[in-house]
Symmetry: C2
């Protein structure tokens, strides 16, 4: 039980979700979990600011230690709880390197770039859509080459960190037929207990979006 840990999180946020998956994988259930609403602006509230001066979620504490950066929190949890729960770093050097490669490449997969209304351009929108499509094609190729998981044979920190982003793409309508390997990966990992137990509550029983259906 992880009574000395506190996580403030918002539903549907990949950075929050990956920390929740890491906690589950390491057998750290029972932490103080507080769900906040982005819509209501609760991520800018006092509770969050006391832990994360950026007013962003996740806001995470382990005892007196604060670690709000989701990548950092996942790596830290794996290191500090090596012998507990599921091992998330491959022994094999080549798979370990691939884990780091994919983990950080995952930052190129994110597509939500907010632009204020007066600064929006069709040219930018088209360019971003094109870039995102190219990026997703790259990942489709990765899954073809090295599955079933992102770093090869075993579920690793790369999956903990990047899966929420991939789930987000499908939630926003990514077409399974256009990206069958990625879809198979998504469908496998979504049934993993750590992922199922932390599935965004606001995604249950509500329809997904179709913003990406034509990619």
């Amino acid at each position: 039980m992880a009574k000395d840990m506190t996580l403030l999180w918002g539903p549907g946020s990949p950075p929050c979700w990956r920390v929740m998956i890491a906690l589950e994988e390491k057998g750290l259930q029972g932490y103080n979990s507080k769900q906040l609403s982005f819509e209501k602006g609760e991520h800018k509230g006092k509770d969050v600011l006391a832990i994360n001066p950026r007013g962003q979620l996740p806001a995470f504490k382990h005892g007196n230690i604060t670690l709000n950066e989701s990548y950092g929190a996942c790596i830290y949890l794996e290191e500090q709880f090596k012998g507990q729960g599921n091992k998330l770093t491959p022994e094999n050097k080549a798979e370990l390197a691939l884990m780091y490669q994919r983990m950080f490449e995952g930052q190129s997969l994110f597509y939500d770039r907010f632009v204020p209304e007066g600064e929006r351009h069709d040219s930018a929108k088209q360019r971003f859509a094109g870039q995102l499509k190219d990026e997703i094609k790259l990942w489709e190729g990765y899954m073809q080459a090295t599955g079933p998981y992102l770093a090869g044979k075993s579920f690793s920190l790369a999956d903990v960190i990047v899966f929420p982003v991939i789930a987000f793409l499908f939630r926003f309508g990514l077409n399974e037929e256009h990206f069958p390997k990625l879809a198979a990966y998504h469908n496998t990992v979504k049934d993993r207990p750590s992922v199922k137990n932390t599935w965004p509550p606001n995604w249950k029983d509500t329809p997904g979006m179709d913003a990406l259906k034509n990619l």
Copy 2:
């Protein structure tokens, strides 16, 4: 000697530079080093694409292992060469957590967002400048609270990774008097052998820019 390692890099690129610093810190001199020119588009050349299909630098190989993501390469080098060169991860759990926190927060410090000419807006320019100033103030506060290094008492992976970004800001004219703690940090670390030995060759004997002088 690191004859089984190859690094293709471009001068003045923080992602390239941090890998070079990590190699120096771990006593991995003697790797195959190839300097390429961004201006000439050499990062899109055959040599790079053979290692990094994104056509980006750094492109890094260790034997048959490819690790092009600079964060990943630095963490991997520290892990694989734990007993060699300088130790870059603190023993102390609180400093270790702070190292991860700062390392990933460092991604918010980067300011170069290329926007095509037809899509440029003064409003966006002003917003980015304001955001960057707020961000740098945050780091000035960090240095006040926890120096002399980014994660506290000892030079760590956080410095390897974020120092090049901070050096970049000063190269672009950041005013030392406005950010004295950050300037002191910059002036200390720039004399460190690993940093001196890898200082961007195109920064030597050429004047800096003044884009950030009014921040």
